[in-house]
Subunit: 91 residues, 2 copies
DNA sequence: TGAGTTTATCACCTATAGTGTGTATCGGCG
DNA sequence: CGCCGATACACACTATAGGTGATAAACTCA
């Protein structure tokens, strides 16, 4: 299991659900937009403290950021669940 | 919430439940006994990849190592549940 | 008491987490 | 087309995570 990718996917998904841009998220969390970018793309290996701070800024439990997603067991051809377009947040 | 302490407590608790010494755990996980010692005492800030490797060596999900424990909400005076002595594992 | 086992602490080193600065790419819109 | 908002990429830099080795407690038991 690639933890970097897992956390990256969770962070991005939740950030979009909350309706934040990387920039706005950077503002709230205190991390740089560049860091968040590479983090979401699974290139980074954050510490647990970082994980907690990210979760707090997103308003979710830190457990949510390490929660396994369906993709792991995936290879499933049928894509369940909506939210395909994510609508590229418009305030 | 102090993530270092939280993870440290979880690791120690599970390691003891599994019945491993720090030394044996070090052997299985590939980390040094010294590192595991400081980790369990909340002095270390492990990365998510480290977290996953620790969980794997313990035979549990990585989520178990970041799971919040009762101690947080604690200040509860009454100690429920047995297992007080931990019996200092005898194989 | 003293040997054996387990855990804690100290000194030290290398690899990398995370920053700052700057730039590149991409989509949409006037 | 050029501009703008949003994301990706690159690099030098500092603080610290990860790791080793030696050793000091701390506890167990013959």
């Amino acid at each position: 299991m690639d933890m970097r990718r897992l956390v990256g996917r969770n962070v991005r998904r939740i950030r979009l659900e909350v309706g934040l841009t990387q920039e706005a998220f950077a503002e709230k969390s205190g991390f740089s937009q560049q860091y968040l970018s590479s983090l979401e793309r699974g290139r980074r290996n954050p510490t647990i403290v970082t994980l907690f701070e990210l979760a707090t800024a997103l308003g979710v439990s830190h457990v949510a950021l390490v929660a396994p997603d369906d993709e792991t067991a995936a290879a499933a051809p049928l894509r369940r669940g909506g939210r395909s377009g994510t609508t590229r947040n418009r305030p």
